[in-house]
Symmetry: C2
Subunit: 238 residues, 2 copies
DNA sequence: GTCTATATTCAGATAGAC
DNA sequence: GTCTATCTGAATATAGAC
């Protein structure tokens, strides 16, 4: 095929295999031998191409998150351009953030559902270097969207918005992760294992209304906190 | 202290240490030597008292989930008793399910925030035996609450209720897990590391309105699904 | 770039003295 | 019940031939 190319496909084969195996078995639960076995390359190839198992994991995410970060910022830029200084609708912000993410699941070239599930599961990985890495990769995008939400919901305390952002991330991560544990319990398979574009589209249609409902829910009552405005009315619709 | 007791505290010391370390480093990331080191017991004690590392993990959960399952079912029983055959309010069901869980965080005798965070993180553990174990432990309780929700929201397709149950579980798990990754990014520490009763109480006050808002959000539009009733009106308030 | 062979460390588990 | 000592396997990583 490619005789004098500096990169045959062994590098990508390793990345693809690692992506799938990290998703299925986690970082600690996946050995280099499993990866090189599935990729059908030599065991030493991982260290030659990436340097270490840690560096391999970082590269697995970097090749996908580069696209995701760019796309999310572009979507937000376009919204803010069209809004001409006005605050954005919460629904539009969520669409730019979570809709862009969920659309990755429909495109096999972007990792498809395999990467989505990996991403969902990795946010709770305990290894220190993974959390540090993620914090760095996400920082800029999260900051931009957080500010957009603050402007979008001026009557909601900022701390509350951060909490709800957090809760939305959790709901989506978990839905995406598609752990079978509760699926088995709840009876239906939640058609997440029917891979392909349809799964991700249905996912978005189900998830987005839930997120919006949670984000705009009435504010909690804090008997102990008098200093912050306590409005029990539902937040006005977007 | 207790000379002729059959159980000195070494068994419990192991369970406590394992609970904390599994929470912090995950199952694969925690070695027997770490556990026995923190518990200040001999390495061989784990296999003597529990048989294996897998069995130890199961026991770590069993001693907490026994209480949680009992308490959740009791709360639901009491609601259904008082309702005298009428469907329950969604908010009451969520309070019985998630409120009971979050209250564990306020009681150190029930594991406190350490166990809550462990539980949140373990739902995405990739090891097969863990997911199988959880499915078994949760089956009865999930089934009871699922049916209560079906009765409570008769106008919502059952598949949609299951999805939203799933999304609520994800939001709570993630909030509980308290991964620092996004907390660092989002700026505030979300006062989850101020352990003690207050953390869990504030957690509940913030989480419950979000869940209820998500559960009662307008139903999604499915352009591709004609067979199911398509109502775009918001679900009526509970 | 790819391979074999191996160095080194650490894991879970157990045998057997006390 | 507790301890020491050790077995056995598997992990990451690398040296060096081709």
């Amino acid at each position: 095929m490619n005789e004098n190319k500096t990169l045959p496909d062994t590098r990508e084969r390793i990345l693809d295999a690692a992506e799938r195996l990290f998703m299925e078995s986690g970082y600690e639960g996946t050995s280099m031998r499993m990866i090189t076995g599935e990729a059908e390359v030599n065991l030493a190839a991982v260290n030659y191409h990436f340097g270490s198992k840690e560096a391999l994991l970082r590269e697995v995410f970097r090749r996908r998150l580069a696209w995701l970060n760019r796309e999310r910022l572009a979507a937000l830029d376009e919204l803010e351009g069209k809004a001409a200084g006005e605050p954005l609708k919460p629904s539009a912000i969520l669409e730019a953030f979570f809709g862009t993410l969920l659309r990755m699941g429909t495109d096999e070239a972007l990792g498809g559902m395999t990467f989505l599930r990996l991403l969902g599961r990795t946010l709770t990985e305990p290894a220190d270097f993974i959390r540090t890495f993620f914090a760095g990769e996400y920082a800029e995008v999260i900051e931009r969207f957080k500010r957009a939400l603050f402007r979008s919901l001026p009557e909601v305390p900022q701390e509350e918005i951060i909490w709800r952002f957090h809760l939305m991330l959790g709901a989506v991560s978990y839905a995406i992760a598609g752990t079978d544990a509760l699926q088995v319990v709840t009876g239906c398979e939640l058609d997440l294992d029917n891979e392909g574009p349809n799964a991700a589209k249905q996912l978005a249609a189900r998830v987005m209304p839930f997120l919006l409902g949670g984000l705009r829910a009435p504010l909690p009552q804090f008997p102990a906190f008098e200093e912050q405005q306590n409005q029990s009315e539902p937040i006005k619709a977007a």
